[in-house]
């Protein structure tokens, strides 16, 4: 019986043991210890090595029973499959409650391995231990500064909880986290999911105060009904974004050989996600965009979006993207139009998208953004074209004339303005309790751009394009609609 105590031991251990620490920098047993020691974990770290060899300048024990009872809660297992039953017994004898098993040679390798895997689960149950894996890449837990994995990266602190049937996707999501600055609370690869799987992790995340959204990758699901029912319970408490492999016939065949699970009609999985309130994403980047939106923005109360853009073209594409969703590019209310008439030169678009047509000034932009997002007929705002001035500023700063000819002063001015606009947009979001999404390809093209950096520094996500922002917003709104179908929160306004 897995309890919250087991999850605490896994994600917030007081001490950790690397079983099978290696002196060879190419081995899992070296990398795992290296990563734990390098990312700021403050608990006690022990390591075992058959020859008691020093690893990374630290002494090791030959046998886990040498570790004082109660000093460690988690063992990270890198020893060969044949040694693992003994490792688990020794770990249990010193009070360890959870094991992450990175070792391969189990269910993924055939019949004999599957037998070993089942025996390992029986042993763990007998020892009252939780085992994650085998054949997993590891786990990350930023509240404990814990990077117990055989791969990189270690992400910034945040509230996205990641669980995956494939370890590489944990890395993919965390790479996007590092790039965008939208952080992670816990991340775990469940490997062969012998004792606990993705759904167990989601249930833990749903009750975890450090996690606000679940982001998962699944390939195969064995007990479909139970999975769907448990997922719905999780979705009542927390948004869940799912990326599922095997959507096509070819992908399904590859998934079956990867995780050994039965393929189902993809339309059934698609439908059940909508039914249980989970958000299904179609790619890694889309999944992360949506998770980042859930993690950093208030939920939209209704479908009405206002687009504010400094130039026309971006607004046109954003309008196209909105028309393909359940969002509504709302007609501008006349009182808002009058307000904007007072703030902008006559050439502005006078409609939604609100094209400022270059008529914005340092004094009017904050007022425009605030009056749009605070209007009662607007549920969310998409802001395009931020960072243009600083982008020019960068070229000037890197050019041969800087800092002469007044360039130093103007570059600094542009950067200050761009930071300020982004900050104003996001504080208006907080004040109105409505989502404001800032989108610019500078998020990828130049993350040091003042507007992008300002979005990031306020803990928000700079969407890499208007279309991606629209898709993410659409999915957050779909959750509002789903919650409202039970008569719970959300109140869908029209």
């Amino acid at each position: 019986m897995i309890t919250s105590e087991h999850f605490r031991a896994l994600f917030d251990p007081r001490g950790i043991v690397i079983a099978g620490a290696s002196t060879h920098p190419g081995k899992f047993g070296f990398v795992a210890l290296h990563n734990i020691l390098s990312c700021g974990y403050e608990g006690e770290v022990f390591a075992s090595n058959r020859e008691r060899a020093e690893v990374l300048g630290r002494p090791t024990v030959a046998d886990l029973t040498e570790i004082p009872h109660g000093n460690a809660d988690l063992v990270f297992v890198c020893t060969p499959a044949s040694s693992n039953p003994e490792v688990l017994r020794q770990a249990a004898s010193v009070g360890i409650k959870a094991a992450f098993i990175a070792s391969a040679g189990y269910g993924e390798s055939g019949e004999a391995g599957l037998q070993l895997q089942q025996e390992l689960v029986e042993l763990a149950n007998e020892l009252d231990m939780m085992i994650v894996g085998p054949n997993g890449q590891g786990l990350v837990s930023t509240p404990s500064s814990l990077c117990a994995q055989i791969v990189a990266p270690y992400p910034p602190v945040g509230s996205i909880g990641i669980a995956s049937q494939s370890g590489n996707f944990v890395s993919s999501f965390m790479n996007l986290s590092r790039q965008s600055g939208v952080g992670v609370s816990r991340a775990i690869s469940v490997g062969n999911a012998a004792q606990v799987g993705v759904i167990d992790m989601l249930e833990y995340f749903a009750g975890d105060p450090k996690t606000s959204v679940g982001l998962v990758y699944v390939e195969g699901i064995s007990d479909g009904r139970e999975f769907a029912e448990r997922l719905e319970q999780v979705c009542r408490r927390m948004p869940v974004v799912i990326l599922k492999g095997g959507a096509s016939g070819l992908g399904a065949r590859a998934a079956a050989s990867h995780t050994g699970s039965l393929a189902t009609d993809d339309r059934v999985f698609d439908g059940l996600c909508r039914q249980v309130g989970a958000t299904r994403a179609s790619s890694i980047s889309e999944a992360f965009d949506i998770a980042a939106a859930f993690a950093t923005l208030p939920a939209p109360r209704g479908p009405r979006v206002a687009v504010v853009t400094t130039v026309g073209g971006w607004g046109v594409l954003a309008a196209d993207a909105i028309s393909a969703t359940s969002l509504d590019l709302v007609e501008l209310p006349s009182d808002l139009r009058n307000t904007l008439d007072g703030l902008l030169p006559p050439r502005w678009s006078r409609n939604n998208p609100i094209d400022l047509a270059g008529g914005e000034t340092k004094d009017t932009v904050p007022a425009v953004l605030e009056s749009v997002v605070s209007h009662s007929d607007i549920d969310s705002m998409l802001v395009l074209g931020m960072g243009i001035q600083s982008n020019q500023g960068r070229l000037e700063r890197e050019g041969p004339f800087y800092p002469e000819h007044g360039l130093e002063r103007i570059v600094a001015f542009h950067e200050r303005q761009d930071s300020r606009y982004a900050e104003v947009a996001l504080s208006a979001s907080v004040a109105a309790d409505k989502p404001v999404l800032i989108a610019s390809e500078l998020a990828i093209g130049d993350p040091s751009n003042a507007a992008v950096a300002a979005v990031r520094s306020t803990g928000h996500y700079c969407f890499p394009s208007a279309e991606r922002a629209v898709v993410a917003l659409h999915h957050t709104y779909e959750r509002t609609v789903w919650l409202a179908s039970f008569g719970t929160p959300g109140n869908v306004s029209q």
Binding site: I221, S222, G224, R225, A228, L262, T264, D265, R267, V268, F269, D270, G271, L272, R274, Q275, S485
Partner: protein
């Protein structure tokens, strides 16, 4: 058996006595279709045992007479089934199918001649809520067909949702259910009408 769950079928009359036709069809507007019914009848169309587009009650009587006469002893004919002709431009399919991993599912999709090529089908796990039924309609790529279409009124979405909820009731109540195929569901004056249905049970028993 699906009628009991509220699936809307056309009213139909089994004629065994020509003298009762007039009364039986009162209140059911034409034109009508008539076909000879019996356990062992095959090649109905080839033998001319299906008559379509019959415009008057008198003509129905005449057709019934001919059909009953055309019956062979081995047909085990039980009578002539008469129903109003349903005409509509839009056909959908609805049903229950059992997924190997997720169990019984409710399925709804585009029907008609393009159905296979477009494969526009959406599914939910049974049982479904009314919210899910309406969401299924919105999930079709061809959902614009649910609006007003070539002179036909918009589809009554609530009525289609009713049909899907009825299928859901059937899915959870019928023992040994393997599948239900309601095909086609024709849209007549904006309302869905099941023109044919097949219920498959796990002992390979079938019922319509």
């Amino acid at each position: 058996m699906l009628r009991e769950y509220g699936i809307p079928f056309l009213p139909e009359v089994l004629v065994t006595d020509i003298d009762l036709v007039e009364d039986a069809l009162s209140g059911i507007p034409g034109p009508y279709a008539a076909k000879l019914c019996g356990e062992n009848i095959s090649h109905k169309s080839e033998r001319g045992l299906v008559r379509l587009g019959i415009n008057s009650v008198d003509a129905v009587k005449e057709n019934c007479r001919e059909l009953l006469k055309a019956a062979r002893p081995e047909d085990c004919a039980t009578g002539v089934l008469v129903a109003p002709m349903a005409t509509g431009l839009r056909e959908f399919i609805a049903g229950v199918s059992v997924d190997p991993v997720f169990g019984p599912t409710i399925v709804f999709g585009l029907g008609g001649v393009l159905a296979e090529a477009l494969a526009d089908v959406t599914a939910r796990l049974a049982p479904i809520r009314r919210h899910d039924a309406l969401d299924m309609l919105g999930s079709l790529r061809s959902r614009s067909l649910l609006g007003a279409f070539r002179g036909e009124p918009a589809v009554n979405l609530e009525a289609v949702a009713d049909l899907l909820c009825s299928l859901s009731d059937a899915a959870v109540s019928i023992d040994r259910l393997r599948s239900i195929d309601v095909n086609p569901v024709m849209i007549v004056n904006g309302l869905p009408i099941a023109l044919d249905a097949l219920v498959e049970l796990s002992d390979a028993e079938t019922e319509s």
